[in-house]
Symmetry: C2
Subunit: 630 residues, 2 copies
């Protein structure tokens, strides 16, 4: 406690991060009573915690479960991650609570683009921040490998089907073994079952059954599976593949997305065990056959290989904050195309490890209308866990913007409005905060507003936020300054969270699963966003009809909408209502387990600016330390 040597102004994140010597990760594990058999060190500052840790704890009570969400942010971000880390530093280092922070693994690509890393900031960080932002323990690399193996298998399979007879295909898929007899590989039984073929001796299949089995007959126009890289490579957004002579003219237009948008990332975040992950990976739908039937990874014989590639990634990575409190870093699905929350297994492990008096604090990506809604209706639905308290992070800056302040743009100087007192503008913007509070309360949990204080905020402005929050039904609203003072700056917030968690909860989902796809979409649009109605474009209608016919209508909904407004129009600040929410298209992540209505264009592959931040990144030749990472 109190080990941080605060400086004013707050130095660069990497300077603060490197100024603290991390405690050996074995010590952090010991604090949590993780037995040596249940974790594997990866160097001295990271460890993989095995899911086996749950075996001996499965009958123990869970700790308190806290989700951190945010108001509709400016493009600069309002400090959700920093608050998540900061309140944990307060709980663990100042308030004598057992605590585990559960946080997403940052995407490495943007680290070299505009954005820099994502391990919190200032005196509220996960360390070593270099490890957090680069490679970590390889989970995202494993996803890249798995995602792209499946992509390669799709194109290769279409190639082989196009160049071979049904009989040749079948004979190659079921070759004679050493004794001359042939058999189906175990993964093939899933396809046989799907096709209604009960015969299990390859030699006894009829010619027609052989054809049905061997020919996936993928319709190239329906392929939704794309390749991924954890690199900001805009020139890969749309590409044509198969242009070498060896591919015999079978070109196809496709593209690469950034790895964290892979469905495999969403699977990792939502799975609850290795066998469950095996099933989800095998069930992922990559497109349709020409007859309109979904084609899965297991149809391609690939679920097993995918789970093998993902086996180690299933174990969360243990790290620590600047104030020695434990952190589980695990999974980092996009908050638009996916649900934007860290993994279920990390939360489950954390809740057992902290015990009934302890706290697990986890973050929901994007504004609360996206991240928290998905936390509640997707993540909690699959985990069976329910939160004891929701924290909503608000800033005076963002509320001024919602009150009518000029646009805030990344990379441009902040308008004077945001640097001088204007409590009226803040009050006007609190309609945004109020709606997020009401939305959160609808799940039956107490809401604590964390007012993330910046140096230029004045008491009158901060008071305005606090008053508005309490008026809107927040259990409490407290000012915090953990960026400048670490856990000490979030003590009040920590105390409020502790009290909130003592309140009774009456958790309920926003919607049941057994209503139609459109009913679910409309519930979210009206009750969470404030829309008057929903409009479906023809492509969306077509997909809803298709997914309903395929039997996927019972999945929860993962809206792909901008986080910069409750509506589809990013410039509509405050708390817009009465608008029509357009649904342009609907996609499905069947393995992960949700349907994705697309409200707007989603950018799945960021680019590099003229002067990317990699210009500043290097190794200091004297110390061997990494410099310039932000």
């Amino acid at each position: 406690m109190g080990k941080l040597n605060f400086q004013d102004p707050v130095p660069a994140d990497i300077e603060i991060a490197q100024s603290v010597t991390p405690t050996p990760i074995t010590e952090i594990a010991k604090q949590l009573n993780i037995s040596p058999a249940d974790f594997e060190s990866h160097g001295t500052t990271k460890a993989k915690v095995k899911l086996s840790v749950l075996d001996s704890l499965k009958d123990d009570p869970n700790g308190n479960y806290v989700v951190v969400a945010g108001i509709t942010p400016t493009p600069l971000g309002e400090g959700k991650s920093t608050t998540t880390v900061g309140v944990c530093q307060a709980l663990g280092a100042y308030l004598d609570k057992k605590v585990v922070t559960c946080i997403r693994q940052p995407s490495q690509g943007p680290t070299f683009g505009i954005k820099g890393g994502a391990a919190g900031g200032g005196y509220s960080q996960v360390i070593p921040m270099e490890e957090m932002n680069l490679h970590l323990t390889g989970d995202i690399h494993a996803i890249t490998a798995a995602n792209n193996l499946l992509a390669a298998a799709i194109d290769a399979r279409m190639f082989h089907e196009n160049t071979q007879s049904d009989a040749a295909l079948f004979n190659r898929l079921c070759p004679a073994g050493k004794g001359g007899a042939r058999s189906f590989a175990p993964v093939m039984h899933k396809r046989l079952k799907k096709l209604g073929i009960t015969e299990t001796d390859p030699d006894k299949l009829s010619t027609e059954e052989r054809s049905k089995f061997a020919r996936l007959d993928i319709d190239p126009e329906t392929i939704t599976w794309r390749r991924v890289l954890d690199t900001n490579d805009r020139f890969l957004r749309t590409i044509t593949v198969g242009q070498a002579a060896t591919e015999k003219g079978m070109t196809r237009t496709t593209g690469f997305d950034i790895t964290v948008s892979s469905e495999i990332m969403a699977v990792l975040a939502l799975t609850t065990s290795l066998p469950d992950m095996r099933e989800r990976l095998g069930n992922m739908v990559i497109g349709n056959s020409k007859a309109g039937e979904p084609v899965t990874a297991d149809d391609l014989g690939m679920g097993g290989a995918l789970v093998v590639l993902m086996r180690d990634a299933l174990n969360p990575t243990l790290m620590q904050t600047l104030e020695e409190t434990p952190v589980l870093v695990h999974a980092g699905p996009f908050a638009n195309i996916a649900h934007g929350n860290s993994s279920i297994v990390a939360d489950q492990i954390g809740l057992k490890l902290v015990g009934p008096d302890g706290f697990v604090v986890t973050e929901a990506g994007f504004g609360a209308d996206i991240g928290m809604e998905k936390f509640m209706n997707i993540k909690c639905r699959y985990s069976g866990l329910t939160p004891n308290c929701a924290v909503i992070v608000a800033t005076v800056r963002a509320l001024k913007m919602h009150g009518g302040g000029p646009p805030v743009t990344a990379g441009k100087p902040l308008d004077q409005t945001y640097r001088s007192e204007n409590a009226e503008l803040v009050k006007a913007g609190c309609c945004n905060l109020a709606r997020h509070i009401a939305n959160a309360r609808a799940y039956g949990v107490p809401v604590v507003v964390a007012i993330n204080k910046f140096a230029t905020d004045t008491p009158a402005e901060l008071d305005a936020v606090r008053t508005a929050a309490l008026d809107a039904g927040a259990f409490d609203a407290v000012v915090c300054w953990h960026h400048a003072r670490g856990g000490e700056g979030a003590k009040d917030l920590g105390e409020a969270v502790i009290k909130a968690c003592q309140q009774p909860t009456q958790f309920e989902f926003l919607y049941p699963l057994d209503i139609s796809i459109k009913e679910k979409i409309e519930t979210i649009a009206k009750e969470t966003y404030g829309a008057a109605s929903v409009e479906y474009l023809p492509q969306a209608e077509k997909q809803i009809e298709l997914y309903t016919r395929m039997g996927f209508a019972g999945l929860p909904i993962c809206m792909a909408k901008t986080q910069y407004s409750f509506s589809a129009d990013a410039s509509a600040k405050g708390a817009p209502s009465g608008f029509v929410l357009p649904i342009r298209d609907v996609r499905a992540s069947v393995g992960a387990g949700f349907l994705i209505p697309l409200v707007g264009d989603m950018m799945m592959m960021p680019g590099l600016p003229t002067r990317p931040c990699f210009y500043d990144i290097d190794i200091d030749p004297v110390s061997g330390r990494i410099v310039g990472l932000s």
Copy 2:
């Protein structure tokens, strides 16, 4: 010693590998007296050994240095890796020697294609073989990330140069800092120096200097830098990028290679320190400017970011054999487009750790005409190390092929010739072995021939090989059966290696660096391959002229030739001579430090067959173990 429970016939590799419980890697490190500060465990079976281990040992004598190469192989491979591992098991577990095996990291892509993994085989393996073949400690993933960040930066830079004025570009590259003043990032000074600009205040550059600095003016036609994935994805061999509307029509034809063919892999294998790696990465040439000048990674501001991504990959991974002897797995450059040898730093570390009475055994990829030639003339030149002994692995099977036996094809049944005695055919084929022996002896080192015995080989056939080897000047030639019996089966080989290492050596390179590019190529072609002359195609002439003008003529040569014949024609078995060696093109890996004459078409991206081996790979739901990996 003697812990292996041999079975006949030899079970599948993964069954043998999983039947042995690995010794904790901390114990293996202790055996080698590696201090805890000098290694980092990654789980219980892998550790990263830091280069700092050399600091305290730098004045200690080296151990004996043994390179394992092979005769011209069949497509099935003649067991070089298995022999490398087997002889180490013999030296360490049966002959009481300190030993370190230095071996390449296998490419993960082919593990899911046709080939299966590469950790030795039978009772001579590196374990855990699943770890060896999948992810390992992430080095190849780091190369993928670094390679593709550079690729993304190339296209993004061309895009920004095409859409901005010189002044706008310059202002973005050198923006004003917080105080309003602007400065060059440290990496930019390298470019300023290259351009002959001595002024270091951005504001004082002339308009012309600003343009020269800001505009790399890359000629898209000259770009040699391609993207990579560690996945067998044939549809990425040739692609068109930049087809999204956001890229404004700036499409370009390029492609992906498999990651191990990246120049960054070659840099990793040839570097000797972190600062050296930083320089090599920054010096990599990605193409030319329209004025014909080489454009480097540092011109793009990227050397620092690349070395940061590669920092942890610089540390070799410590593993173990089935018989508890230590292994350093590090780097795995292609043997065609690159030099096909594991890393210099792993060998250097191994040689210090085993001490003067110990042994480091390292493998040279491909046939000895490729792998050993490059080991001697590229790797040893950059490391300053010289071998005490060369082992050449021969099989009766391959020698029969060289003697005129029918073709050997992977995936097809072996002709009866290879399964019944024919000592005359073996004798006829020994011309291939004899030339490899002569080639090795020309470096001034004793040669031990390892006759890797298969179950169908007869005493007369084995004798024929041994006699031919000794006649050709081998120091010794011994039969070994380590695939079936581990170290016990390679005891005789181990003893021969020990004796050979007691012989004096008179190492000399095949060619000096200060002769012309053509003279170097011709020396290799005539003296190693037996060619009568070399023919240069116009593209090769052009590149030789270009690289000479650019000042790269002093680099060593890395021939890209088939390993299936001494000549360019893979079907010319035995010891062909008098042929003309065609050089079609010449490429340069300036950062790694070699020129690459292309003798034939090199396949840089493998594909997936109709039934890839991933069909058999899965997790056993009961044991949680990986099954089906071969």
